[in-house]
Amino acid sequence: MGLTPVGSMPYQESKEEFLTTKLSHLIDLTRKIGVNWSRKNSLWPMPFATACCGIELMATGASRYDIARFGAEVMRFTPRQCDLMICAGRVAIKTMPVLQRIYMQMAEPKWVISMGACASTGGVFDTYAVVQGVDQFLPVDVYVPGCPPRPETLLEGVMAIQRIVENEGLIHSKERERGMGLVVQPTVQVKVEKGAGK
């Protein structure tokens, strides 16, 4: 996996440039394999843990499940040093600017895991104050289902990120897929009885 170069390189079949072109191909291939291999095995997560999913995230980091087996144990609490944001828990709309600022402060390349039902869809909190899925306002790469997800599920999500990194690691995140941007409008209207309570 990952041995075919993504995109088409300008390739000249003339004998003079044969060696150099092959060489640049080789360098590119090595860099892609090497860099992607390094990146996918040393993801540094930014734990944006706002709720009970954060406890499960801590359990994933602890010794029983041990996210260090995947090289992602270095939780950094500053976005400048991270390349993987794990958004764990429901996000209130008042918190959304914070989350967006943290995402924008992360250096390229960066990936986002939306962990749990609340971060992905709003979950049971279908209220005025809760964001109905962070993918409405942020580009999300992997959705981890569960309420909260078991540590195995989160590890599966990290492995999914690793596959993404392996396949398209050198692509700038602008060129990757975008979030779905689904918007749900409220449909409920409250009935007011006549003459009650003025």
Binding site: K94, D126, T127, Y128, Q132, P139, R178, P186, V188, G197
Partner: protein, 178 residues
């Protein structure tokens, strides 16, 4: 209503003879000494009554342990729309008292008690945020739980649970803009 009222309420009725306090226990109990009492006050008289309850040495309610808002829309037998409930506690005299105020639309407004109990600041801000009841003479009446551009008062009963589209009205960050 039980016949016996507490000494505090007797004191209040003597001091403010023009107010109908309509005292009632929160819960009827067999042990009358364990009953907790509630009095009703008009918004215009609230500040005077509260000052008296705080400063009079027989009352000396040093602590405002809670301040809450209630929306009585569609509530059975309710005459007024909003209620503000003050829960007072005297640590030195070891007694409690509940004070209720009712206000109505439009422009529901009660006097602020921040100058009596400073701890009321955030509680009054919360009631303003959630119910839209203004507190006159409040030093800093901003929203406390919802965000600044929010316009509604979400704990009112006629506000839909899922909001009126406020939660979607926000800047989107794409991969291009980040």
């Amino acid at each position: 209503m039980s016949a016996k009222i507490t000494p505090i309420i007797e004191l209040l009725q003597k001091q403010f003879s023009d107010i109908d306090f309509a005292p009632a226990p929160l819960l009827e109990m067999k042990d009358k000494s364990a009953e907790q009492w509630c009095v009703h006050v008009q918004p215009s008289k609230l500040f005077a009554v509260m000052s008296f309850l705080r400063s009079d040495e027989r009352c000396s309610f040093e602590q405002l342990s809670d301040l809450a808002g209630v929306d009585y829309l569609n509530f059975p037998k309710a005459k007024d729309r909003y209620g503000i409930v003050y829960s007072l506690l005297s640590l030195s005299k070891e007694h409690r008292l509940w004070v209720k105020v009712f206000v109505n639309d439009p422009n529901p407004e009660v006097p602020s008690v921040v100058s009596i109990w400073y701890g009321a600041t955030w509680m009054e801000r919360e009631v303003w945020d959630m119910f839209g009841v203004r507190f006159s003479d409040h030093p800093d009446l901003r929203r406390i739980l919802t965000w600044e551009s929010f316009e509604a008062h979400p704990l009112r009963k006629d506000y839909p649970l899922t909001g009126r589209g406020e939660r979607e009205d926000f800047k989107v960050i794409t991969r291009d803009s980040a």
